[in-house]
């Protein structure tokens, strides 16, 4: 039996190699289909990211930001100037108790003067750095290392992305090399918090070793971010350092995830009644998603037309192949090859062609994506800033599967023709 399988396999492979080379030329259409698909999917993903990032920021559709009424639209710095720019703790408690939210994160600000000391190639700087705190969970899904953002002996700090520019500007002026974001992560420093009043006779200062955890653009603030439990504990511990009671921190923003997006209008009204402002993406996101759905539907329609045309073209080519090879098929049938085996062999040939064109199509599509990425903004200036993401490995497998399916689908009916032709006459006449 093993010998039988081996002999058949050997003969089938030999047959396959010989016929595939010929069939490759006639099935050229699959290449265009797969290339188009790869290019389209890259374009679509990039467009979606571009629209999401450039037009709507990082807020998800079910996320809302709750502001103090006076603080809406202002930088968080303004919170230090007036109590009206903060959210009262009683209101925060009320909001946390509301059942409309699955999660509520609070951005708090330490109401003491703080500075950070950094040393770079023998030079040190100690600029003012307002200190904010937030629950680590806020970064879940936004920052891969969010679990490491918790209070430790060396305090992790998150800085706004702007810092890297300031850092590199400073480095450039001093003739130092430029830094990348990765290089800066883990950069050490010292945090100084002064709890005594400006006019106090004795200055009370605390020093904490810190290291940079990451940079973020998820929050609009210009200070340093630490885990909020650090700020809460510190504020409680040192609230009476200056001799009189002073509340150590204030609520600046609340970030909440709404359980049911349909309830958003009612929730917004409730929050507005509490004297707060709400910012959400729900309306605009709905419209964007609708627009993307329309783009997807049109693309699907175009893709389907291309798919059908490709299938028809390849089907036609396979019919010609069957006609040209009818002598061989007939002869094999006469000699003792069954119908199923003829169909199976033909489909295997089609599948091999599908794999080959799936691979080539993927790489052609990827190359076109890269080429477009470099040149698209030159041709269409409106799309400046659109970065086309090259297709990933997952798409390669999908492209091959689609290509194989299209090829086999196109070959199925010709294969059935091949197995059902008037064999005896075909052999007799075509010899």
């Amino acid at each position: 039996m093993f010998r039988y399988i081996y002999r058949n396999l050997k003969f089938t492979i030999k047959d396959l190699l010989k016929n595939t080379a010929k069939a490759l030329i006639s099935s050229f259409g699959i290449l265009f289909l797969i290339s188009f698909l790869v290019l389209y999917l890259s374009l679509r993903t990039s467009m979606k990211d571009y629209i999401g990032e450039k037009l709507f920021g990082k807020l998800a559709i079910n996320e809302i930001v709750i502001y103090p009424k006076a603080g809406y639209g202002k930088d968080v710095y303004s919170t230090i100037a007036s109590k009206r720019n903060t959210i009262r703790p009683s209101i925060v408690k009320r909001i946390r108790r509301m059942k409309d939210f699955s999660r509520v994160y609070s951005l708090i600000r330490l109401n003491y003067e703080s500075k950070i000391l950094v040393e770079l190639m023998g030079r040190s700087k100690k600029p003012h750095a307002p200190l904010y705190g937030i629950e680590p969970g806020f970064f879940a899904g936004k920052n891969r290392r969010w679990r490491q953002f918790r209070t430790k002996a060396v305090l992790p700090i998150i800085a706004p992305k702007l810092v890297i520019k300031l850092f590199n500007n400073y480095a450039a002026v001093r003739g130092m090399p430029q830094f990348t974001e990765k290089q800066l992560i883990g950069f050490p420093g010292e945090l100084y918090i002064k709890t005594s009043d400006y006019y106090a006779e004795e200055e009370i200062k605390y020093k904490f070793p810190v290291k940079l955890h990451s940079l973020t653009s998820d929050l609009e603030f210009s200070g340093l971010l630490v885990p909020n439990d650090f700020i809460v504990k510190f504020a409680r511990k040192h609230s009476r350092d200056s001799g009189k009671y002073k509340k150590g921190y204030s609520y600046v923003r609340l970030f909440a995830r709404v359980k049911n997006i349909k309830d958003l209008p009612a929730i917004t009204k409730k929050l507005q009644k509490m004297g707060l402002k709400v910012k959400s993406q729900s309306d605009i996101s709905k419209k964007t998603n609708r627009a993307l759905e329309i783009v997807d539907s049109v693309s699907l329609l175009i893709g389907s037309i291309i798919l059908i045309l490709t299938v028809i073209a390849i089907f036609n080519s396979y019919l010609i192949i069957v006609h040209n090879r009818s002598y061989g098929f007939s002869l094999k049938r006469v000699i003792g090859v069954s119908k199923i085996r003829i169909v199976f062999n033909f489909l295997i040939e089609a599948a091999v062609i599908g794999v080959i064109y799936g691979l080539i199509g993927f790489f052609v599509g990827s190359y076109l994506t890269t080429y477009l990425s470099l040149n698209l903004s030159k041709w269409i200036p409106v799309l400046k800033g659109l970065v086309l993401v090259p297709a990933g490995k997952a798409l390669l497998i999908k492209a091959i599967l689609l290509s194989v399916s299209v090829s086999c689908l196109s070959a199925l009916i010709p294969a059935l023709f091949a197995s059902n032709m008037n064999l005896f006459k075909a052999v007799r006449k075509m010899g």
């Binding site: 039988y4 090859v337 069954s338």
Partner: protein, 251 residues
């Protein structure tokens, strides 16, 4: 061994075979004659299980072959039948040796010593020099001998030959006739010939004429008496060496 029972087939309104019955015994050469288009090839197609008749049955060893699945009929063709056609019908992309080998590849019961068997067959059919050549480089007679080798590699019970000598010259035709006779005598293979070649008919054990969809038994004597009789096998054998062998120069 093979029995055709009241077989009929029509193509459109044209009736090709009409209630034909025929019985073929083992170790015989049966010829079916008739004009072009009378349905000789169709009859062979039906016998081989490739063309289902409109009515009637085909029995092989008392089993109705059209009750079998296509897979079983394919196996049956592969193991029990051999085919020889007018235009040789060899796979052009493989060598003569691989052409002979092909039916054996499809047969799971092919013996381990298949290569030795092919070698023996090549010697038997005098194909030694051409085994590694492609069909396009072979002469008509050589191609037909390769086709016959392919037809008998699986040791079939019957060979269906459709105009096997239609494309060959007289000498080669006699070679092929000899071969069929030899196959019958030495290997016990029955041959069913569809032909209008008189030489083949004369050397068959029994011959039928197919006309207007009906099969009638033909008497050999009648054929011989009609026109100038074909040379007997012995006569051809005596003639052949004289034609082929170059005269040796005397020392």
């Amino acid at each position: 061994m093979l029995k055709i029972d009241k077989v009929s087939i029509s193509f459109g309104s044209r009736k090709i075979l009409d209630d034909i019955s025929l019985e073929i015994n083992e170790r015989s050469i049966v010829a079916i004659t008739g004009k072009s288009g009378t349905g000789k090839s169709t009859l062979l197609g039906i016998i081989s299980g490739l063309m289902k008749p409109d009515s009637g049955k085909v029995f092989f060893e008392n089993q109705d072959i059209y009750r079998w699945s296509d897979f079983k009929r394919s196996r049956f063709r592969n193991r029990k039948m051999g085919f020889v056609f007018q235009f040789f019908s060899l796979l052009p992309e493989v060598t003569a040796y691989e052409n002979i080998m092909y039916p054996a590849i499809l047969n799971p019961f092919t013996s381990k010593n298949i290569k030795d068997e092919i070698k023996e067959l090549i010697d038997f059919l005098k194909l030694g020099d051409i085994a590694d050549q492609y069909p396009s480089t072979l002469s008509g007679g050589e191609r037909q001998r390769v086709a016959i080798a392919r037809a008998i590699i699986n040791k079939p019970r019957i060979i269906l030959a459709d105009e096997p000598t239609g494309n060959l010259d007289d000498d080669t035709t006699y070679d092929i006739i000899d071969l069929f006779k030899k196959l019958k005598e030495e290997r016990g293979i029955t041959t069913l010939l569809a032909t209008h070649e008189k030489k083949l008919v004369e050397n068959s054990d029994i011959s039928y004429n197919l006309e207007n969809g009906a099969l009638s038994l033909q008497k050999r004597k009648k054929i011989r008496s009609g026109k100038k009789s074909a040379p007997t096998l012995r006569a051809v054998e005596e003639k052949k060496p004289a034609k082929k062998r170059p005269k040796k120069a005397k020392p």
